[in-house]
């Protein structure tokens, strides 16, 4: 297979001459490959960017629920223990941890400055909850808390970020879906272009068959042509897309890393796969189409 594929690139230029310069069909194939590669690379960039966003947002969301217990001094620690017990046995919670005084001070500092007399104030206890997976059943948890620790309030205030993450995953899925769609379309278009080139050259095929050419010889000429067209077309489209992405005006702030469309680090290697896929697609699409058309012509 590698050998056969390699022969395509180096191969028999003379056999190639037997197929007339297919002109428009060849241009069509190269252009299709280029446009599709361009779109693929953008879809890839989009997927990777949304992937980064989704990952980051998920991480931030993972530790944002808190339980706050406000109760008269005497009951505070008892209720806190009850809450901890409940949290420990609730599915969807990875861990729950009582905050230390220092941590609570840090959280309040923005509001009251650093010198707050924490001991003299009736401030509540805070419990940090790290969710796992989809998180716990919040409504059920609230009910249990209300029953066993009336002073406890479950603060799910970061929940609003969830739609963002779901949006990001959707975009990522959409990106992957687009790439698949684009690949499928490319294969279909190359198949059709190859078939139409073969049909347009029915006469050529008849002539070379009558003078003793084998099917494999004819197929080789077509496959070589279409594979090369697809390869160079896709290469061009990919390079163009990568340049566009590279020179895309990017926000200069630190968020650009996340939201920018550019590739990061080794991800720059991924788009290079696109022309290779295009060439392999073209190779097989043309080969299968050619053998089928030849069989039917016989």
């Amino acid at each position: 297979m590698i050998g056969r594929f390699g022969a395509i690139l180096t191969g028999d230029r003379q056999a190639d001459r037997v197929v007339p310069p297919t002109g428009y069909t060849a241009n069509l194939t190269a252009f299709t490959a280029a446009a599709m590669a361009f779109l693929s690379v953008f879809a890839l960039a989009l997927s990777l960017a949304t992937d980064r966003l989704a990952t980051r947002w998920s991480e931030e969301l993972a530790q944002t629920a808190t339980v706050r217990i406000s109760a008269p001094d005497g009951q505070l620690s008892r209720q806190a223990e009850a809450v901890m017990r409940i949290l420990d046995t609730t599915p969807g919670i990875r861990s729950a941890r009582m905050m230390t005084n220092e941590e609570q001070l840090k959280l309040l500092e923005p509001w009251f400055g650093p010198d707050l007399p924490l001991d003299t104030l009736p401030i509540p206890r805070l419990i940090e909850v790290v969710e796992s997976g989809d998180g716990p059943d919040m409504a059920g948890l609230r009910l249990r808390l209300a029953a066993e620790a009336p002073g406890a309030v479950l603060d799910d205030h970061s929940r609003w970020r969830k739609p963002l993450i779901s949006a990001a995953s959707r975009l990522r899925a959409l990106g992957v879906f687009s790439i698949l769609l684009i690949l499928g379309s490319t294969a279909a278009m190359i198949t059709l272009a190859a078939q139409s080139a073969l049909a347009a050259n029915a006469q050529v095929i008849t002539v070379v068959r009558l003078i003793g050419a084998r099917d494999a010889y004819i197929v080789r000429a077509f496959v070589r042509r279409f594979t090369l067209r697809a390869l160079f077309g896709a290469l061009f489209g990919t390079v163009l897309a990568m340049l566009s992405i590279y020179f895309l005006p990017s926000a200069a702030d630190e968020g650009a890393f996340l939201t920018g469309l550019g590739f990061q680090g080794w991800h720059w290697v991924l788009p290079v796969v696109v022309p290779v896929i295009a060439a392999v697609l073209a190779f097989w699409a043309t080969r299968i189409a050619a053998f089928r058309v030849l069989r039917r012509m016989a």
Binding site: V207, V208, L210
Partner: protein, 225 residues
């Protein structure tokens, strides 16, 4: 070389040829004649496996055509030179490339035959047309080029379908002379033609037999020609 036994052919039920039994021995010279639409081209297509008999048997070079796959057909065709009635070429290649094409597609060395080609071009009067593309050639020039392409591989069997239909009498004689020379070198020749003058002239020079298609039957024409 070529042997038909009770062979018949029909196009989707429309019977064209029936009950044909004939043998073409190696080195023989045959004409095939019959009115327009009688099935001459159809018979020749059977001979070079463009069609398969619908009944009976056809052996070529000792092989049964029914038992051949597409690659076998390709191999057999490399041993047959054919001048088709409509003289098809690859319109994007020059005449010289077209004439060398049979070597090309079968992976033969082209260089060794360049000399032969030059001679053929002179004989067929196409020396000036070698670098032209097929569509600009005149009808007669195409017919002569088709003959050149058919013989370039020095095939064992040469089949020609109306090879002089578009040629004036002088040129037709030249082409016949070429075929007679090839026959003397041992090639088997089969020519479909409606030109009785051509047949008469050939009969003066070689022991040519004439096959005639009459009412779907193939018969040997006698001395009446």
């Amino acid at each position: 070389m070529l042997e038909l036994k009770k062979a018949a052919f029909d196009y989707a039920g429309k019977e064209i040829l029936t009950d044909m039994s004939v043998t073409l021995a190696p080195g023989t010279f045959h004409f095939l004649t019959g009115p327009s639409g009688s099935g001459k081209t159809t018979f020749l297509k059977l001979c070079y496996q463009d069609l398969i008999p619908s009944s009976g048997t056809l052996h070529i070079f000792g092989k049964d055509v029914r038992a051949m796959d597409r690659d076998d057909v390709a191999s057999v065709r490399q041993r047959i030179g054919v001048v088709h009635q409509d003289c098809q070429f690859l319109d994007h290649l020059t005449m010289s490339e077209n004439i060398l094409l049979p070597l090309q597609v079968t992976g033969h060395e082209v260089a060794s035959k360049l000399r032969d080609m030059q001679e053929l071009m002179v004989w067929t009067g196409l020396s000036d047309q070698m670098e032209l593309l097929p569509p600009v050639l005149s009808g007669g020039e195409r017919q002569r080029a088709a003959l050149a392409r058919a013989v370039i591989m020095s095939p064992e069997l040469i089949i020609a379908d109306e090879p002089t239909g578009n040629l004036d009498w002088d040129m037709a004689q030249r082409m016949l002379t070429l075929l007679i020379e090839l026959n003397k070198m041992g090639k088997t020749i089969l020519i479909a033609t409606h030109d009785m003058n051509l047949i008469r002239m050939a009969k003066n020079q070689v022991a040519a037999r004439v096959l005639r298609i009459r009412q779907r039957h193939l018969e040997l024409a006698g001395a009446e020609l």
